[in-house]
Structures are given as structure tokens and as C-alpha cells.
């Protein structure tokens, strides 16, 4: 893709999607924030631990896959 193609794609994108510009929330978010702070943090579900364990085993077994993981992080 050369410079002209890049410019054309930029123009197309600008015409397809509107900018938001400066925008404000429609209501004060503090009451919702306050409720969120009062909630106890949820414990991670068991399958998250299983997934993390699986990834750890995979990385130990196939260290060459580490750059691929890091790329997608």
C-alpha cells in the first residue's frame, strides 16, 4: 500500500464513520461509581484458573510460542 492508497483509505474511513469530538456523560456517574465501590470484588471463576494453568503448561512445553502470546496481549 503506497502513500496515495493510504490517503484514499483515510478519506474513505472519515466519510464512513463520524467523529465523536468532545462529549459529556448524560448523567452524573458518581452514584453508580459509589455502588461499584461498595460491591465486594467477585472471585475469579474456577475455569479462569484452569485456563491460566493450561496456558502456563503450554508455555513451559512450547517456549517458542511465547512471542506469539506476547504479540496478542
Amino acid at each position: 500500500m503506497n502513500g496515495n492508497d493510504e490517503d484514499r483509505m483515510e478519506q474513505l474511513l472519515k466519510r464512513a464513520i463520524l467523529p465523536v469530538g468532545s462529549s459529556e456523560p448524560e448523567r452524573d456517574l458518581w452514584p453508580a461509581m459509589s455502588r461499584r465501590m461498595e460491591k465486594r470484588p467477585a472471585a475469579p471463576p474456577w475455569f479462569d484458573w484452569v485456563l491460566a494453568g493450561g496456558v502456563a503448561i503450554f508455555v513451559v512445553a512450547f517456549p517458542a510460542a511465547i512471542p506469539v502470546f506476547l504479540y496478542y496481549l
Binding site: 492508497d5 466519510r15 464512513a16 464513520i17 467523529p19 468532545s22 456523560p25 461499584r36
Partner: protein, 190 residues
Amino acid sequence: MASGTEIGRAQEEEAMLLEAFRQGAPDAFESLFHLHQRAVYGWILRMVRDRGTADDLTIETFFRIYRAHARFDPARGFEAWARTIATRVSIDWMRAQHPEQVMAEEFFADVPGPERSDPALSAEVRDKTARAFERLPPKLRIAAVLAVIEELPHKEIAAALEISVAAVKVRVFRALRLLRRDLEKQGIRP
């Protein structure tokens, strides 16, 4: 017009507020929330382009800020720090979404303003472009939306994404290239 003494006092008050927040004072957090919620919301809305989601992610961002108060470095400034956290929160959210359900219709240019009006660009092309854009990887999409659509300075984007200005340009270029390929697959030659 504010005098030098007033400015100095305001800076001193802000420094005290930030230090109180760093030490975990709930009142200081509430003050910072009220001072910065609009800016953080606006930043998130630019990335996720849906008002309800921006509300939720603003709260999630401030919740992470609240939990991380001890790691706050007052020298860096609160807003810059909040932006980096808001950007991470938005990327996490995008990764968890189905690509076709992300952007609210109100941000599609179906009814463009006079300066954007282009009779040569059909509604179908606009729609396909917007949909293809939603399918881009979140990190590329965020760089492109902020740089190309919102036209923010690359330096500002780089700070929020915690990458270099050169890396922002690379991401924008890759986003446009992927978008072009996607459109070509659909028979659209941009």
C-alpha cells in the same frame, strides 16, 4: 483574570488533592472523579463509540484507578494516568465483544454533514467500511479511530497507548492496510 498568587494557590491545592488520593483518602478520590469524569468519559467514547458502554467503562476505569491509588505518581499528572487506564479498559472490552456489535449506529455517517457529504460514496460502501473497521484488532482500531477519525495528535495517542509516536503510525498504517484488504475481499476497490 487569575493572578499569579491565585494560580499558585490552585496548583498547591491540586497537589494536596493528588497526594491525599495517593494516600487513599476517599474524599480526594470523589473530588478527582467529579473533576475528571467528563474527560475520561469523552476519551472512552471516542474509542468504543457507544454512550451506554462509555458510562460503564468510565466507572470501571475509575474503579481501577481507586484500587491502584498507591501506585499513582503525582509527577505524571492524573489525567494522563487516567487516559492510559481508560485505554486499557477499552481494549479489554473490545476484545470481549463480538465485532459486529461494537459501534452504535449514531456514529455511522449514514446522514453525513454538508462538509462530509459525498454523493460518490454509496450507503453500502459506507456501511461495509464501518463494519470492516469493527473487525480490526482492537489495538489497531483504537490507533486508527483516534488518529484518522478523531484527528488527535499522534503524541497524545502515543501517551495513552504507552507506545512511541512511530509505533502509532505503524498501527494506523496496518489498520488501513487490513481495512483495504477486507474491503477488496467484499468486492470494493477503495
